[in-house]
């Protein structure tokens, strides 16, 4: 088990390292006029010259990259007009448009995205697994057909469409809810929850479709196995067969998919955040893309990659814990 863990983590670190190379090549080498792009369209030649110096763009590419990597693993110093600014590890660079360090920027947004993802996650897990269990239990009946179509409809709806409709229905037409807004949990927990209710609901509705499908098919798979037939032959009731045995078969795949989704969304639930105006990582990324704030864009992609790779490793680990045979292969 320890060997498996070490190998898996080693692999994850290598992927991340490769990711920094790829991102550096794509975003800092390929475009050519990097200083101008990174600095933004409104930069004066003097500012561009300063960026060129900061990013050491006059050095050979591998030296530039070495500094980029050094910033991430050990921190680095940036010369500003007046002196040197230290950027502590993990340093993802400095935004030339807001003069903020990218790492600080992302850290400040993390609790916002976290609030959104955690609440939505609870929702889609309950809703998705519940729907899956129900349709596996009522298989072949009307309930299952209805749920199957609902699930299909859910997977065919983009999150921004359902979100828009929910805003119109609950905020404008019925006026049951205030317009969605983000209030930090530490400031006012009640406002925090009310402001996030619609984003949570939209995200949970859309995501739960996937989980319903997965749960249902995993449960049907287990129900077909010999040991379940044996239980039935012994007179174990349908409720116990579904609740105790079939559900067990769905646990591992649901955990694995959850870990992946969790990782992806921490890199920014881009659409949900943009639609509802939640100032999280995803919305910041869209903003950075629109104003071409290169260091922020690259930093965000790298952080997303980090979360996904981490989540993948955790998913594998959970899988191995659930089924020891995985660790041996």
């Amino acid at each position: 088990m320890t060997g498996f863990l070490l190998r898996r983590l080693g692999g994850a670190v290598l992927v991340l390292l490769a990711l920094t190379v790829v991102l550096y090549a794509v975003f800092y080498v390929a475009p050519g006029d990097v200083a101008q792009i990174a600095c933004g369209p409104r930069c004066s030649p003097a500012q561009v010259a300063q960026v060129t110096e900061q990013l050491r763009l006059d050095d050979p590419v591998y030296v530039q990259y070495a500094h980029f990597l050094q910033g991430i693993v050990a921190g680095r110093d940036f010369s500003t007009g007046t002196g040197a600014e230290h950027c502590a590890m993990p340093c993802l660079g400095v935004s030339y448009q807001s003069d903020q360090q990218v790492t600080q920027l992302i850290l400040a947004k993390l609790p916002v995205t976290g609030s959104l993802v955690i609440g939505a996650f609870a929702g889609w897990l309950v809703l998705g697994v519940g729907t899956g269990v129900l349709s596996a239990w009522r298989r072949g009946r009307l309930t299952e057909r209805v749920l199957t179509w609902l699930t299909l409809a859910g997977s065919a709806t983009p999150v921004f469409v359902i979100g828009l409709l929910l805003i119109i229905l609950f905020c404008s037409t019925l006026q049951w809810l205030p317009a969605p807004s983000y209030v930090p949990f530490t400031e006012d927990p009640e406002q925090w929850a009310w402001g996030l209710l619609l984003p949570w609901t939209s995200l949970a509705l859309i995501e739960s479709a996937k989980y319903a499908r997965l749960t249902r098919s995993a449960m049907l798979e287990t129900l077909a196995e010999d040991h379940v037939r044996t239980f039935r032959a012994y007179g174990v009731g349908e409720r116990a067969v579904i609740g105790r045995h079939a559900l067990r078969g769905a646990v591992a795949p649901v955990i694995a998919l959850s870990a992946l989704d969790f990782g992806t969304m921490f890199g920014g639930a881009v659409l949900t955040e943009s639609l509802f105006g939640i100032p999280g990582i995803g919305r910041e990324l869209v903003h950075a893309v629109k104003v071409v704030d290169l260091p922020v864009v690259v930093g965000m992609v790298l952080v997303t990659g980090f979360f996904v790779v981490l989540a993948n490793a955790v998913a594998d680990l959970l899988y191995a814990l659930a089924d020891r045979r995985v660790a041996l292969s």
């Binding site: 490769a18 921004f160 499908r213 795949p253």
Partner: protein, 330 residues
């Protein structure tokens, strides 16, 4: 649909298709009522997209002409008339503020949505096939290298990396082409994983071994022996990836980094519709509804294709004798 699920569902189709051919595939597809209805809807949409210039000519409109006389500028640009200004000339009403014909923009928007998704899917499949086959048939070293590249690809969620790439590409690059290239160019890892796994299985079968032993080149074997057998999983994957790509394009355009005006796109219409839903609800509901219907029809059709190519899948699920494929869901 998420990639993990896509891989699971498409990967479940048997690598060696039953020796039945196209005719029985169509029969099995037609036998499914929902899939047939979905196919009809898709056909209609495709025809609409293809015939966009014809249809708009028939309506006597074009997507980019402003009609300032049809909106009430005193009320901020709300279309004059009921249902967003529906009339004999403007079948679906007009766009708020500009007064552009909504029917024409919707029809041309269908071209963009379907066209971008089609090119993106084709690119995904082509890249996935080449990379998957190369990994399965090439040297061990190549397999390792491609495996790591796939790992990196998996670490980058399509939405995030597509957004990021759009930041550095010069504005002069034609947007629809760019979006298709970006979605297709980064979304190949699911396909390549399936192809690699299936090709490795096929490689060990007698007919492939015989072809290899007869001294034919690797690519000849891949093309003549493996590709026909890979058809089922590849077609299934394509059919299920297509609606996903429509959503991605709509999402990027919705965020304002995809298709740029004046080119119409359903996702982009929704961004603007957001602020108009009270005064002109149809401006929001029409693109939203079409997006929903298109993706739903394509998904149902995709499911139908999967069932038709792997008849056991349906009966397995119904009777509940399904086995295998669980490990793919990670």
């Amino acid at each position: 649909m998420s990639e993990a699920l896509l891989v699971q569902e498409a990967g479940a189709a048997p690598a060696v298709a039953p020796a039945s051919g196209a005719r029985s595939f169509w029969r099995r597809l037609r036998a499914q009522r929902a899939a047939s209805a979905a196919a009809l809807v898709v056909l209609l949409l495709v025809l609409t997209a293809l015939a966009a210039p014809l249809l708009t000519a028939l309506a006597g409109q074009d997507p980019n002409t402003y009609h300032p006389d049809l909106v009430d500028s005193a009320a901020g640009g709300v279309p004059i008339g009921s249902f967003g200004g529906v009339s004999g000339e403007h079948w679906l009403g007009v766009e708020p503020q500009t007064g552009r014909d909504l029917f024409a923009r919707i029809v041309y928007g269908a071209r963009v949505s379907l066209g971008v998704a089609l090119v993106a899917t084709a690119l995904q499949i082509a890249l996935g096939l080449v990379i998957g086959l190369a990994a399965a048939l090439g040297s061990r070293w190549l397999d390792q290298l491609l495996g790591r590249i796939t790992d990196i690809n998996v670490a980058l969620p399509v939405m995030v990396i597509a957004l990021a790439l759009l930041a550095i590409v010069p504005a002069a690059f034609p947007r629809p082409v760019l979006i298709a290239l970006v979605i297709g160019g980064i979304g190949w890892s699911g396909m390549s994983k399936i192809v690699r796994a299936q090709a490795l299985t096929l490689k060990s079968l007698d007919f492939v071994a015989a072809a290899r032993l007869s001294g034919r080149g690797t690519w000849s074997v891949a093309r003549r022996e493996l590709l026909p057998s890979l058809a089922a999983p590849v077609i299934t994957y394509a059919a299920l990836a297509f609606p996903t790509n429509i959503i991605v394009e709509a999402a990027l355009s919705f965020l304002g980094v995809g298709i740029k005006p004046p080119t119409p796109s359903w996702g982009q219409m929704l961004t603007e519709a957001d602020t108009w839903y009270q005064a002109a609800p149809t401006y929001l509901l029409i693109p939203a509804g079409l997006l929903f219907v298109t993706v739903l029809a394509l998904t149902v059709l995709g499911e139908g294709v999967r069932t038709a190519l792997d008849p056991r899948a349906a009966s397995r699920l119904r009777v509940g004798t399904r086995t295998g494929g669980k490990e793919e869901s990670a």
